[in-house]
């Protein structure tokens, strides 16, 4: 029977987390020693019947109190700072990360790669490439957890959440669903297979081929009538709707004075809940697409919107 002590370390961030964990363990052991040590010693030394000096000098109680308030306080602040810095990095994907779509449903993970390749309960990754997961759920809350990468993020219905990592080692690792989601929660597991880059390219072109999400998104954009209003700067549309070119990542002024960054969440909400954030200077006439767009299509449309302005505009969008 195996009894591993530490999990595999297979991503860029994993080392950092383990390092912090080491510090935390140090603090834990240290404080356990400074409490348990004296307790055991006093219990022995001052056990009843043991003749020993018990006379107490009236010594500085207040100073003592101050010491054991301040030291933990400082230690705490240090731990907070160290962890917050890592947390911040964990939550901010680099701009150039490869984007993989993940949809959770009871009880499986559906994955689509940018080139269109799909898989279920498996995640093939090229080693050394920053990867960002764009995730949503079709039913309840799940959580995408790869212990070897030390990452986890809840996946919510009606939300887009993201997480990112850079795999550093080839091999097979566990993929777990970490948020309780019903009967087969414990079977919503899978395998992460990190491969060398050539192997990954090879794997992408084997088996069943599909269109990439950007292409699908472009088609949906037309079919759903988005292009009727959002016709681009040169378009000749009846309704005045904002130009979506280069929208992703820009700062959008909203009606009411708020400014928001057009991130994944913003794009999603703009389509599903157009009423919640109105772009300044436009009428709230955009219909909600809730109920008309499946999770997959939604992710595809968003992928398409993000491609606008990055690449030369696709003809299909017209």
């Amino acid at each position: 029977m195996k009894f591993p002590l530490l999990p595999d370390q297979a991503s860029l961030g994993a080392g950092e987390v383990d390092h912090l964990m080491l510090w935390l363990m140090g603090v834990t052991v240290f404080f356990l020693l400074v409490t348990a040590g004296p307790i055991l010693f006093f219990c022995f030394r001052y056990r009843r019947g043991n003749p020993t000096n018990r006379r107490i000098r009236d010594s500085g109680g207040f100073k003592l109190e101050l010491t054991w308030t301040l030291i933990p306080l400082l230690v705490s602040l240090f731990l907070f700072g160290a962890s917050a810095a890592i947390y911040f990095r964990q939550r901010h994907p680099p701009e150039d990360a490869m984007e993989i779509h993940v949809i959770g449903k009871q009880w499986m993970w559906k994955v689509q790669h940018p080139q269109g390749k799909r898989e279920i309960n498996e995640l093939h990754l090229p080693v050394g490439v920053p990867v960002k997961l764009l995730m949503t759920s079709q039913d309840v809350i799940h959580s995408f957890f790869i212990p070897a990468f030390r990452i986890k993020q809840d996946v919510l219905p009606g939300w887009l959440t993201t997480q990112w990592f850079v795999p550093t080692r080839t091999g097979d690792f566990h993929l777990f669903c970490a948020e309780y989601c019903g009967t087969d929660h414990s079977r919503m597991i899978g395998r992460v297979r990190v491969m060398s880059r050539p192997d990954y390219e090879q794997w992408l072109v084997t088996g069943h081929q599909e269109e990439g999400p950007v292409l699908v998104g472009a088609r949906r954009f037309r079919e759903l009538g988005c292009s009727g209003c959002h016709a681009g700067p040169l378009g000749n549309s009846v309704v005045r709707a904002p130009d979506l070119n280069g929208l992703y990542g820009s700062v959008v002024p909203l009606e009411g004075g708020k400014m928001v960054v057009a991130d994944d969440r913003y794009l999603r909400d703009s389509i599903m809940l157009p009423n919640s954030e109105i772009v300044h200077g436009y009428a709230p006439v955009m219909p909600s697409y809730q109920g008309r767009l499946s999770e997959e299509d939604l992710l595809a449309v968003i992928a398409y919107l993000k491609s606008l302005g990055k690449e030369p505009r696709q003809e299909g969008a017209r």
Partner: protein, 240 residues
């Protein structure tokens, strides 16, 4: 000095029964009053949680709330606010009268307060039926039994099932019904309490003064909740 406080416990004087575990009447009354306040503190947080729900909806869909709010019966709502505020005044007066020993006048004040509570409830009921009549009772187009939604996911299933159109006005109307409904329940309880007290107060020593006071506190609290409900629900969107 201590001996005065420790006196024999069976010595029950006047109308108010001194329970055996209290030493003085004042102690007993203070305990009851403070108890009432602590209870009201729990009520604040009970309602507070649903005010949080309201805050979420207003924060996320300000336009929706404004729009939906226009469909409530602002006139009835305003009248009801007046009724409740006035009843609170009469209640306060009733307590004052009871303190001065004018038990009949106090009984009358309490009865009027209860009556105004009833008026409030009647108006509320009218308002409900009007709002429902206009078709704003949400949800009943939706399924009562939760169904699992195979395959389609959240968005897919909704369009197929032909369920409610998600414009989020629903959220507002739900909040309206749940918040005012819970409030109305509190009013109803208050009415019953007040009516009972008014009845007992007919007799000079029918009920202890402190009970009247504490019931008054409860009534004012119910009023207080409404003071916030009214502008948040009814006045969110009535603009010229």
């Amino acid at each position: 000095m201590d001996d005065e406080r420790i006196g024999p416990t069976k010595n029950v004087r006047e109308t108010e029964r001194l329970h055996s575990h209290f030493v003085t009447r004042e102690q007993q009354e203070d305990a009851a009053t403070l108890g009432m306040w602590v209870f009201l503190a729990t009520e604040v947080l009970f309602f507070g949680a649903i005010f949080m729900g309201y805050t979420y909806v207003r924060w996320s869909y300000p336009g929706v709330v404004e729009e939906a709010s226009r469909h409530l019966e602002i006139v009835l709502g305003s009248i009801n606010t007046g009724v409740l505020l006035t009843s609170s005044f009469i209640m306060a007066a009733g307590v004052l009268l009871a303190e001065q020993g004018r038990h009949r006048a106090a009984a009358l004040a309490l009865a009027v307060t209860a009556l105004m509570g009833v008026v409030f409830l009647v108006i509320k009921g009218t308002e409900y039926s009007m709002v429902i009549g206009e078709g704003y009772l949400p949800g009943f187009t939706a399924q009562l039994e939760p169904v699992s939604r195979p395959g389609g996911g959240y968005y897919g299933a909704l369009s197929e099932g032909g369920g409610p159109v998600p414009g989020h006005e629903e959220l507002f109307f739900w909040l309206y019904f749940v918040m005012t409904g819970l409030h109305a329940l509190h009013v109803a309880i208050g009415v019953i309490l007040l009516a009972g007290l008014a009845w007992l107060l007919r007799k000079p020593q029918g009920i202890s003064l402190n009970t009247v006071r504490n019931t008054g506190l409860y009534w004012h609290f119910v009023d207080l909740v409404w003071v916030f409900l009214f502008p948040l629900l009814y006045l969110a969107g009535h603009r010229l």
